[in-house]
């Protein structure tokens, strides 16, 4: 977190393997739409986690309200459908843009705040949206939600769409972090006043970071609407189910690393499903109840013992791994 993880950029071969694996994965589970569904969720969390990571991990603006952008993207896809029967698929274009506009407007308010106050400000704005979208029934159909009969029953096309978005998110963020803007983001994170003092237009670069971040969050929201076919304000503006999980995905995987959120997403979906299904039905039912607890413990463990997350502290983990099992350390 404290340094630029340049070595992650150089290992392009690994990245190629990951992409290849991601393309092959749904075919390995060709006959299990259930697993394919989980893979789609992993990709969705990769997008959300990476989006959050750019703003929080790289630019230092820790948002507790990413559900706002996710939700607005989902509603950007859903509302034209609800009112005028325009296909929600347009949301893949409009969702991100709607989120960027919202992000800019909210930025005017929340970027005046710093640190914990910024976090609370973003949290509050997301909650305001959740309540407003629930109450304004004429516009949003309130808590009845919006239902859309999805285009395909099969999951494969959805998987490749969400994979494309996820790769777009990860690699656009990687590209930005390679550019001059990326270094400005880091300088804002390390010391905003110092950044300003050396002539960086911090307001402008915070807004750029916000725009890229919210664009992907909004696109993820629109995809959620298209894929799930049902949204209501409690789902898409959820504090704990969206905003908090987004942060956990980032922390678990590694704040301020390109692939951290992706690793975090895999761990999060895996742990959540393992407990929700009570170890695929092998454990007693009450196990399902403790999934939040286990997840919480996992996060505490990560924060205490590997603050950089799985990716950020990979060297540390690998070193321990080698020490205990020296024979496998070859290759």
């Amino acid at each position: 977190m404290k340094e630029i993880n340049l070595k992650w950029f150089s290992v392009t071969k690994t990245e190629l393997y990951i992409i290849l694996g991601a393309i092959i994965a749904p075919f390995i589970f060709y006959f299990s739409p259930y697993i394919q569904g989980l893979l789609i969720f992993i990709m969705m969390w990769v997008i959300l986690g990476s989006s959050w990571n750019l703003l929080a991990g790289y630019t230092g603006q820790v948002s507790f309200g990413h559900a706002a952008y996710f939700g607005i993207g989902a509603y950007a896809a859903a509302l034209p459908f609800y009112h005028w029967h325009i296909s929600p698929w347009w949301g893949l274009l409009t969702g991100g843009i709607a989120a960027v506009i919202l992000g800019y407007l909210l930025g005017i308010i929340v970027f005046r705040l710093r640190g914990p106050y910024f976090a609370l400000g973003t949290l509050a704005t997301a909650e305001i949206l959740r309540i407003a979208f629930g109450e304004e029934e004429w516009l949003t159909n309130g808590h009845n939600g919006i239902l859309y009969i999805t285009t395909w029953v099969t999951k494969l096309p959805y998987y490749f769409i969400v994979l494309a978005i996820a790769l777009g998110a990860v690699f656009s963020i990687k590209a930005v972090m390679h550019s001059k803007a990326g270094f400005y983001f880091l300088s804002i994170r390390e010391d905003e006043d110092a950044a300003k003092a050396i002539g960086i237009d911090t307001a402008k670069y915070k807004n750029i970071s916000m725009a890229i971040s919210t664009f992907w969050a909004g696109t993820a929201g629109a995809f959620y609407m298209i894929y799930m076919g049902f949204i209501d304000p409690e789902i898409v503006f959820a504090l704990h189910n969206i905003s908090i999980i987004t942060i956990l995905v980032g922390i678990l995987g590694g704040v301020g690393t390109i692939w951290g959120p992706a690793v975090g997403a895999v761990i999060m979906v895996f742990v959540q499903e393992l407990f929700r299904s009570a170890f695929f039905g092998l454990a007693p039912r009450w196990v399902g109840n403790i999934h939040a607890l286990v997840f919480g413990l996992l996060v505490i463990f990560v924060i205490l013992y590997m603050a950089g997350g799985v990716v950020g502290d990979w060297d540390l983990i690998a070193k321990k791994f080698r020490r205990t099992k020296p024979k496998e350390a070859k290759a």
Partner: protein, 413 residues
């Protein structure tokens, strides 16, 4: 790094084989598996548990009596945790992994509605037994018309929420004659729809609606809401809540000494044993609309209630349990009429022709208004008297006298 990719790929392969093996065993003599979607964990687990118990009770009886043409009936439960997106995934899993030809259950409105879309899309019939928001049986909500009965796979055993208060209306008209009402509701699909339809009924009956106020599930302090409502001095409160909120509302109303002529709940939380356990003396005297009571003159109702208490203990089931128990019997009846062909299409055709008696009342899926595949039912009014839920309306079926006016000072002592 290479090592890790290899290990990861190997793990993926291993898991995929496990899942592949799972799905290829198919026996013709084994049990017939039917999917049940219920909230078994989370804030609505109270309801899910009662319904699951009732499904299991019915299953044991059905299998004891010979099962379905010699094959046993089996329910595969999927936990929707009370969240629509989890419910959708659950329904999908039942259809694609467990390959069930019929789904039943469906507790909260929003979850049921979201899951219904999945069933509709996969063309697998879904017999809803509790989810009550009106649009679940309105084909319009699924881009169909009421004429598309043969393309519509959703069936509903319980009446829609807009009809929950129909039994209450005559009680208000004939006995209480309140002049005004204040409506408090949970801000969910079930609560919002219930509130708007009761508002309409009240206006029709000439009762002035002093206000409609929503709250978010899990609110801990209802006092500002209650005090604001009480400022308007309504003759009655009409409340739509799930069980924990219901108990808290009544407890805090008692603490604030709010004493209208009536407190009326709209079913859901207000008829559950857990409501009484949590609200204590504050539950006394509270009325609720209900869809069922064990003292109704329906064959088997009392036996079901007693058997439930014998097997699971506690205070026994309310209408939610009866819905689940009856749904199990409808499932058995439908499957028997499929004559060994347990495919979604055959089951759907058999569902269309359903005309049977259950402990919940007669079941027949009819069309009216915007709805199709909807079972029509009467509704009743119950009251908590000395810690027990008693049927007080309609008068000819009641097993306790409705004392009016209610002396709150005495009840809340």
């Amino acid at each position: 790094m290479k090592n890790i990719t290899k290990v990861f790929l190997a793990a993926l392969l291993a898991v995929s084989f496990l899942f592949g093996l799972n799905s290829c065993s198919k026996k013709e003599t084994g049990p017939i598996k039917i999917g049940v979607l219920l909230p078994l964990t989370g804030s609505k687990a109270n309801f899910g548990e009662m319904e699951k118990n009732s499904f299991e009770l019915a299953k044991a009886e059905i299998n004891k009596a010979g099962g379905i043409d010699g094959r046993a009936l089996e329910f595969v439960y999927e936990d929707d945790t009370g969240k629509p997106e989890v419910g959708r995934a659950g329904a999908e899993k039942l259809i694609t992994v467990n390959k069930v030809p019929l789904i039943t259950g469906g507790y909260s409105s929003s979850v049921t509605f979201a899951a219904a879309a999945v069933a509709q899309q996969y063309r697998v019939p879904f017999l809803v037994n509790t989810g009550s928001v009106d649009k679940i049986t309105e084909p319009e909500a699924f881009n169909l018309t009421p004429k598309d009965g043969d393309k519509f796979y959703i069936y509903r055993l319980n009446p829609p929420v807009s009809e929950y208060a129909s039994g209450l209306e005559s009680l208000l008209q004939e006995v209480v004659k309140p002049k005004s009402v204040y409506i408090i509701h949970e801000n969910t699909a079930f609560g919002t729809k219930g509130a708007s339809s009761f508002k309409k009924s009240a206006e029709k009956l000439g009762i002035e609606v002093k206000g409609v106020q929503s709250y978010t599930e899990g609110t801990v302090d209802f006092k500002p809401l209650l005090l604001n409502a009480w400022k308007t001095k309504p003759d009655m409160f009409y409340m739509i809540s799930y069980v924990m909120d219901a108990a808290l509302i009544m407890k805090q109303a008692r603490e604030l000494n709010i004493k209208p002529k009536l407190f009326v709940g709209a079913g859901a939380g207000y008829t559950m044993p857990a409501f009484k356990e949590n609200a204590g003396p504050a539950a006394e005297g509270v009325l609720s609309a209900t869809l069922w009571h064990q003292s109704l003159p329906i064959k088997g109702a009392k036996e079901y209630f007693d058997n439930y208490v014998k097997k699971y203990g506690g205070d026994g089931p309310d209408y939610h349990g009866a819905e689940a128990y009856s749904a199990a019997y409808v499932v058995a009846n439908v499957l028997k009429r499929c004559k060994g062909d347990y495919t979604p299409e055959t089951i759907k055709k058999a569902l269309d022709k359903t005309d049977m008696m259950t402990v919940f009342g007669p079941v027949k899926f009819v069309s009216y208004g915007k709805k199709i595949h909807q079972n029509k039912m009467k509704t009743y009014v119950v009251q908590w008297i000395n810690g027990e839920l008693k049927l007080v309306w309609p008068k000819n079926l009641a097993n306790a006298k409705f004392e009016y006016p209610i002396n709150w000072d005495k009840l809340w002592k």
